[in-house]
Amino acid sequence: MEFRSVRTVLPGDLVSVEASDIILGPGLMQNEESIICTKAGVLMKKENSWFIDSDQKRYIPATGENVVGRIIGKVGEVYRVDIGSAHQALLPFLAFENATKKNRPALNIGDLVYARISLANRDIDPEIQCTNLDNKADGFGELKKGFMLKCSLRYCRRLFSLKTQIMESLDKKLTQKGIEIEVAIGLNGRIWFCTEKVKHAIVFYNALKEAETMSDAELLEILFSLKTQIMESLDKKLTQKGIEIEVAIGLNGRIWFCTEKVKHAIVFYNALKEAETMSDAELLEMFKNLDRKF
């Protein structure tokens, strides 16, 4: 059974619940005999589980969530990592697959990592690790090259829940065309992605940014069809002109891209920023015409 939306709520609204054993998720609080909302959003319900689907930009760490972080320092045996929350996260040197006291991970300040939150408590700094529960890397670890973009948390959550769907069909379509995109979606509002060619990155970035204000169905639509369309036409057009762009989209609201020439990067950046507030059709149009801008 899926979660279904009940109604739009504001902070302070009372939720009338009949059952006695209920599970309260984010945005809800028990106040004596009543349940009150603490965030504005859509009240969601599944059997006895309730939560509020709200949107924000600032990340509050929660155990088990995947995040994209940036190394900002080394202190003793740990890295300090910026994951977008109020406090810096700690990443121990031994929290990597096959890491030992002698075999340390070689990460530098500014590097990006994809990690899992292993400890989240409001009173202590969050801890992250680059392994899954079985101590295997499982996709976690350093994110080499690529591009990171920042989005709203709700968008990242949605992409994350649709990830397998998106990835499967994207994989199929893109592999046929020989395009490779590596994506890491962080629930802290950061998406990282890496493509072989910078132009693909641009397209991917724009598609992701554009899809932010869409419904799930539309989102899938844009990420499948629009993107491949864009890729196709951009690829054709840009290859003729000899322009290459590499893009990485982080679901945490950060996008990375790399072009051979700085002027292309500027054009790409502007196009990406512009596309943020566009509708599907406009976006498609813009991507089709993107090559002209170069």
Partner: protein, 221 residues
């Protein structure tokens, strides 16, 4: 009702409200307008806090109030104090210990009732930032004229000509008083009349806020 207010409004009518969220690229922001009075509020947080401001059991709430022109003076400092104490009563600060929630209010246009506008703008920005709150605060101002009539949501011109000026802030759920501020000479009865009228006007503001949030959610903003 006679039509002898400067802008032909009824005595108890509030000016048209305009709300815009995500106005600047911060954790949360909102532009709230009461007619020609506009306040832009931006929120940063929960974010890192300076050690000397750190509270071990709850978030530090820092309010900055910037006037339309010039640098902040005593008036603005009072507004900051009022805003902070109002916010502390509604924000669940205990959820984010050792952090800072920074609130910046910038007056964009000043045409009276600026404190009420700022409180409403802050409420909208806090909602936009996703800060956990027990309730939300809405505020309305009013003046008592020399002939005893009460004008809700006065313009600058009306405030200058009045006998006393009041600002009331209410919470949403029970419409209880969160804060009030009065200047001038008035009787007890007049004060309670102002309170009742402001309460009715506050309900209108709440409805506007509700509509704005609903619109933003359905449009994916």
């Amino acid at each position: 009702m006679s039509l002898n207010r400067v802008d032909k409004r009824k005595f108890t009518e509030i000016r048209p409200i305009s709300i815009e969220q995500n106005y600047v690229n911060k954790d949360g922001s909102a532009l709230f307008k009461f007619g020609d009075s506009a306040v832009l509020c931006s929120i940063n947080g929960p974010t890192e806090v300076k050690v000397r401001d750190e509270k071990l059991d709850k978030a530090t709430i820092d309010v900055l109030f910037k006037p339309w022109i010039g640098s902040p003076g005593t008036n603005e400092k009072t507004h900051e104090l009022v805003l902070r104490s109002t916010l502390e009563s509604i924000i669940q600060a205990n959820l984010h210990p050792r952090t800072l929630i920074q609130v910046v209010c910038q007056v964009l246009m000043d045409d009276g009732s600026i404190l009420a506008t700022a409180i409403n703008a802050t409420t909208m920005a806090l909602i936009n930032a996703g800060i956990s709150m027990r309730d939300i605060a809405v505020a309305v101002s009013c003046v008592i004229c020399k002939d005893g009539t009460i004008l809700i949501d006065p313009k600058e011109q009306e405030i200058e000509e009045n006998q006393s000026f009041h600002t009331f802030a209410f919470n949403k759920v029970s419409l209880n008083l969160l804060f009030c501020e009065s200047f001038g000479v008035f009787t007890e009865k007049q004060y309670f009349d102002c309170y009742e009228l402001s309460k009715t006007a506050a309900q209108e503001v709440i409805n506007e806020i509700h509509n704005a949030i609903k619109y933003n959610i359905t449009n994916g903003r």
